[in-house]
């Protein structure tokens, strides 16, 4: 990883010349690739998407201001926008890669999910709108902090918390039906 100082310097250089983006690409490739492959399981599509994300970042790096948002979240926001654009336009299949550990705890399930309960939970999650599902995905499947969820979705940490609790309540209610 780049130190904060080195990162600032590198970003300023990349603003003037895209070929100077190399060290930033190296530093953040895994972050972006990780975000993408949690959502796109087709190799070629994932590759195209990552390429588009970095090209977009190089094209718009001039607009990046250090005081606004940490660079990794700026990149993740681009990744998120590109993901939704591509999935929508190209009709790609969007994967939700789940991991129940944290969610089980949050919705207060006493035991590990049975197959039937898993299917029910998937059905409930599938009924959520994209925005709500994304919050569940970021918070419980990718185990990100509320602050991170907020940065990615461009909302405050507190708002991320409130929204999350609302969705959890919704899920619990649906599961009880």
């Amino acid at each position: 990883m780049l130190s904060r100082e080195a990162e600032v310097k590198q970003i300023e250089e990349a603003k003037k010349d895209p070929s100077k983006f190399g060290p930033i690409y190296e530093a953040y490739f895994h972050l972006i690739a990780g975000y993408v492959i949690n959502r796109i399981h087709d190799f070629e599509n994932a590759k195209d998407l990552i390429q588009e994300i970095f090209i977009k970042a190089m094209l718009h790096i001039n607009k990046y201001q250090h005081r606004d948002v940490p660079f990794k979240f700026w990149l993740l926001r681009i990744a998120r926008n590109e993901l939704y654009n591509h999935v929508k336009k190209k009709e790609w299949t969007r994967v939700v890669q789940y991991n129940w550990d944290l969610l089980e705890e949050e919705i207060e399930l006493e035991n590990t999910l049975t197959e039937k309960q898993t299917n029910m939970l998937i059905a409930v999650l599938n009924d959520l709108n994209d925005a709500d599902l994304e919050i569940i995905e970021l918070r419980y499947f990718e185990k990100r902090s509320f602050a991170e969820v907020g940065e990615i979705l461009q909302i405050t940490e507190n708002n991320a918390k409130v929204k999350t609790y609302r969705i959890i309540e919704k899920i619990k209610k649906e599961l009880k039906k």
């Binding site: 990552i50 090209i55 094209l59 001039n62 299949t93 969007r94 994967v95 890669q97 708002n159």
Partner: protein
């Protein structure tokens, strides 16, 4: 959107993806996209518009060199012979019906009122602009800085220059003179008498437009003295967390297998149990043993277990004393009654949480808006501070093109001496200065080289000089070491600054410009 839920990870890893991607190809593609970006921004008819723009600029620059450098769209033509990378233009698509504020950096901003562009039926205009923030930008972009007034020639300085054009699908759109764009610029020195000039691109000279308005600290921009409040939501959150911790226990129905027993208690002391006629208790406490019921007990006590629906039952007979935990169980109508009560209470609790969450969400949204407004206010306040120091100037932009804010300096300072002339090697001119930029005792001025290839400079001052030659070469000298000539003039050595293949930023760095 098609969704699939999977617990398995994909068969490939980030490393696999990285191996198959070529970063250099991405950089190349980025450069290509930058070339076509402007066309893309224009949307439908973009290519046509692009051609119009190119033609317009070629005519408007009155220059035979119309070939554009691919990665520097809209670049001024006089830069063509030097392959340097200049800035990509900033562009913002604005609605013609709204007021748009565009920040240009360093506190400078444009206010574009509705109807500022004569855009016909278009409801949007693409505003393409560059704000020149320092002298190197102006010099490297070869912007002429000549100013003639009543036969007297001056060099202009600049404390803020903008080049701006509006486009819609039909091409360049004019600015409505009656609804001008307002440019607000913080300047470096409040004591200077600033002027506004517009570049006449056909003669490459500047025309005096007028005096900019000094923004007095009246804060007519709507500075809010009372910043919007951000309400502390901690207590509300704690309250919601407290409510969420409340776990109402569902009443337990008596099973056939249960070893249930009745306890006589004063119903007044236990109002939560008073309504149930057939109430019994069961215990799963390890300390509980059904054999204990074969003994005789003289005293039975029931006490609530804090934070739960359980009770402690204490039995004593003067010799023995036992205590175990027990829970009420309901049967028949009692169960129905208890269940209904539980559901009502639970619904009430959920409703309360829901209402508090609604209120919290509303407050959070209100707080976010307040934080945004506060941040905006902070940025305005820094401008306000400059305004209070009379450092902010404002002027109207009534047409497309270059607008400059500053004042002219006569060619030939009274205290300066002629010191420069072309340099020759084997009888051939190797440096023929054409335009220059001089930093001299805190003054910054552009040098128009005199026809006899000399210019005026204070040889005793702390001087820094940059010269752009007639052959598009850049020379610089940081400290003038003047060499006297027999004819009373001076010469000095200048260092050539390599520009080929470099960005403006790199050139500025090599010149020590931040």
């Amino acid at each position: 959107m098609k969704r699939i839920f999977k617990s398995e990870k994909p068969s490939f890893s980030p490393e696999d993806l990285k191996k198959s991607l070529d970063f250099d190809a991405m950089v190349k593609q980025t450069k290509t996209i930058k070339r076509i970006k402007f066309r893309k921004n224009l949307g439908i008819g973009g290519i046509l518009v692009f051609s119009i723009v190119m033609l317009y600029l070629a005519l408007f620059r009155n220059d035979k060199k119309t070939a554009l450098k691919t990665e520097t769209l809209l670049l001024k033509d006089e830069m063509r012979s030097t392959p340097i990378n200049v800035y990509i233009w900033d562009s913002v698509k604005i609605s013609t019906n709204d007021t748009t504020r565009i920040e240009c950096g360093g506190g400078t901003y444009m206010l574009i009122p509705p109807g500022a562009f004569v855009a016909g039926s278009s409801d949007s205009v693409l505003v393409v602009y560059q704000f020149y923030q320092d002298w190197a930008d102006i010099l490297l972009n070869r912007i002429p800085m000549r100013y003639d007034s009543a036969g007297v020639r001056y060099n202009l300085v600049s404390d803020g220059m903008i080049q701006l054009y509006g486009f819609n699908e039909d091409g360049l759109v004019e600015i409505n003179e009656n609804i001008p764009i307002i440019l607000t610029v913080p300047v470096t020195d409040a004591s200077r008498g600033y002027n506004v000039y517009k570049l006449d691109t056909s003669t490459e000279s500047w025309t005096y437009i007028g005096i900019p308005e000094v923004i007095e600290p009246t804060f007519e921009y709507g500075f809010t003295e009372n910043l919007p409040e951000v309400e502390n939501t901690d207590e509300r959150k704690a309250d919601i967390a407290r409510l969420k911790r409340i776990k109402l226990e569902k009443p337990r129905q008596k099973n056939k297998e249960d070893f249930a027993f009745r306890i006589e208690f004063d119903r007044k002391d236990y109002p939560e149990l008073a309504a149930y006629d057939e109430l019994e208790f069961v215990s799963s406490d390890p300390g509980f043993n059904t054999d204990q019921f074969s003994k005789s007990w003289t005293d039975i006590q029931l006490t609530r277990k804090r934070g739960s629906k359980s009770y402690f039952v204490t039995l004593s007979n003067g010799i023995d004393r036992i205590q175990f935990e027990a829970q009420p169980v309901f049967s028949g109508n009692d169960y129905k009654k208890a269940l209904k009560e539980f559901e009502t209470k639970n619904k009430k609790l959920q409703k309360e949480i829901e209402e508090k969450l609604d209120e919290l969400e509303r407050l959070e949204a209100q707080n976010e808006a307040a934080i945004r407004a506060r941040n905006k206010e902070v940025s305005r306040n820094s401008l306000k501070q400059l305004t209070a120091q009379n450092k902010v100037r404002r002027f109207r932009i009534t047409s497309n093109g270059y607008w400059n804010l500053d004042y002219p300096i006569p060619i030939g300072f009274s205290f300066a001496k002629r010191i420069a002339r072309p340099q020759y090697v084997s009888g051939e001119v190797v440096i023929q200065p054409l335009k220059g930029f001089l930093i001299m005792e805190g003054l910054r001025t552009y040098i128009e080289i005199n026809p006899n290839n000399s210019f005026n400079i204070n040889k005793n001052g702390s001087t820094r000089l940059l010269v752009m030659t007639s052959t598009d070469e850049l020379y610089a000298v940081n400290k003038l070491e003047l060499i006297p000539e027999d004819d009373g003039t001076y010469i000095f050595d200048m260092k050539k600054i390599e520009m080929e293949g470099k960005s403006v930023h790199e050139i500025k760095q090599s010149l020590g410009v931040q």
